[in-house]
């Protein structure tokens, strides 16, 4: 009986959790970590490829995906 209750509780927990996992973005699958605690992104000001300065503050109000890469 006790085992049956535990199994039922586990099933309920799985069912409750399932929609969130199914519908949510797969950050974990990509091994993207929440930045905890969240903090302000370091400001930057660099010229774009036409020489015009690009600043992080100019992008405020937009979600920014910042990707660092190079020719390795």
């Amino acid at each position: 009986m006790k085992a049956g209750c535990s199994a039922a509780l586990l099933l309920v927990a799985m069912l409750l959790g399932a929609p969130a996992f199914a519908a949510g973005p797969d950050f974990a699958g990509m091994q993207i970590q929440p930045y905890d605690p969240p903090k302000a992104a370091p400001a930057f000001a660099l010229p774009d490829l036409d020489g015009k300065m690009a600043r992080l503050e100019d992008l405020k109000g937009k979600v920014v995906m910042l990707v660092f890469w190079a020719t390795w």
Binding site: I32, Y35, V64, M65, V67
Partner: protein, 89 residues
Amino acid sequence: MSADAAATLKAFTENNNIKHLLLADFRRQMLPEYGAMVTDEKSPAYRYARRAFFVIDRQGIVRFVKVMDNALDLLKPEDLLKAIKESGV
């Protein structure tokens, strides 16, 4: 943001029809601020970029991060972009 020189990146964008904002941090101003630079104290010239991804919300707050130890590991930016759109960050 790339650690390559601006002239190199300009040719790359023209040849590959790249439309998004691309910045050159050839002088390594931004890389250390984001913890995305590898150095070697025995060689001052050894200052390589790590492959790294940051998601910054509308208020300028870093919400998600992935800094990769091995640059040969890949993560498709379009997959991350899709997840960002789904997350409602």
